[in-house]
Amino acid sequence: MTKPIVDARAIHKHFGALHVLKGVDLRVAERELVFVIGPSGSGKSTLLRCLNRLEEPSSGSIVVDGIDMLDPRTDINHARQRIGMVFQSFNLYPHMTALGNVTLALRKVAGKSRAEADRLGHAALERVGLADRAEHTPGQLSGGQQQRVAIARSIALEPRVMLFDEPTSALDPELVGSVLEVMRSLRESGMTMIVVSHEMGFARNAADRVVFMDDGLIVEQGPPAAIFETPTHERTRAFIGQIQRH
């Protein structure tokens, strides 16, 4: 692998007595789409949240786009602009319009003027197919539309990496497609993406690499075909088998 854009090494995370991450290494190349799967409680969401330091790792090192995320001298707010994050529950700001959600960080962190931020915000909403919903508040949007606004909120900041934390788990089945569509187009534009999700179909035809986690460790990783068709570890096989039966 050439110089990775995300380089996490020996990540440990304790929640009190609970040892959630037990020394995880994850390197992601530029323009790569890495899919993280695993049973619930395996630590995949925690790993994701450590990468932009929403959770503080107990030990280890994380470098994203050349920035040492765990160095106390790092301006974490500036660093986070380069790492977009999309949440399972959207977390849109209910008191702002879609455009307001997208432009807040542009104005307050990136220091853009209101006019400039509005222009970038409209462009981002356009990219997720919601140009005509700019003035709607989250309450007036469907779940799928809300999640696309949340994606627009991240990509408006032109991040180098995007983290997706179960982006479609809270959606009704008929709304999942529109969100995956947006993620696919992001991928085609060359965005580096780390996705925690159960959408195996999407993983199969969009991911470069699938990482299987269990019990706080990466058990096995490789191209989707290899992981899904010929997993080498028993635990991976069991998990894949369970998922495919559904």
Partner: protein, 226 residues
């Protein structure tokens, strides 16, 4: 004179009322001054304490909780009396006006801190995370994302509490503040007639009834709706 006439002559005596109207009016001005000072400083201090509390510095939070509990437990009149009659023994002699203002401002601070804090904590954790993940700082998140949602939730309990505490300006009469009740009481003893008291009562209604009605409308507008 019929009973009715005697009643009106006693409680609504035109001559007495006219004579003491200026006193009641000047009492109203003092009440308004006190009320505005109490509301502004009490709410500002309460919000400031709630913001400091959100920094989650342990010993500081214990101190804030203790101060809030203290001023919620003590009757406002006890605080006023303590300031006005007690502090002079320590060579500090606040006027009745200052004693009433500070005491009620402390009480409002305590109650509003609780309400602001409850509002802040009721904002979902995901809101913090989404905002922080886009690079907004703790303070920017608090001001742009959390507070606007928290304040909306706090408006009904806050208005009710503010009215209840601001009405306490009448307690100032115990420490010789010349607000409405003080003026009315001294007018009664000067004129041997209760009419000024009726005027004073009316003055309170003129000041506070519109606020109460407004609060009721706010309540139906904001409560339970999201």
């Amino acid at each position: 004179m019929s009973t009715w006439d005697r009643f009106v002559d006693t409680f609504f005596n035109g001559k007495v009322m006219l004579k003491y109207l200026p006193d009641i009016l000047s009492g109203m001005v003092v009440t308004i001054e006190l009320a505005v000072l109490i509301v502004l400083s009490g709410l500002a201090a309460g919000l400031a304490l709630a913001l400091v509390r959100s920094l989650a510095i342990r010993p500081l939070n214990w101190l804030i909780i203790f101060i809030v509990d203290l001023f919620r437990s003590l009757p406002p009149l006890v605080i006023i009396v303590l300031m006005y009659f007690g502090l002079p023994y320590a060579e500090i002699s606040p006027s009745g006006f200052v004693s009433t203002w500070l005491s009620l401002a402390f009480v409002l601070m305590a109650f509003s801190e609780e309400i602001f804090w409850a509002g802040i904590t009721s904002v979902h954790k995901g809101q913090w995370e989404a905002s922080r993940s886009t690079g907004l700082s703790f303070g920017q998140t608090l001001i742009n994302v959390v507070l606007p949602q928290a304040l909306r939730l706090t408006i009904p309990p806050l208005t009710n509490r503010t009215i209840a505490i601001t009405k306490g300006t009448a307690l100032g009469t115990v420490v010789a503040v010349t607000e409405i009740l003080g003026e009315a009481s001294s007018a009664v003893s000067n004129s041997y007639n209760p009419s000024p008291l009726m005027m004073g009562a009316a003055a309170y209604l003129v000041l506070f009834l519109p606020v109460v009605v407004l609060a009721r409308r706010l309540e139906t507008k904001f409560a339970w709706k999201r």
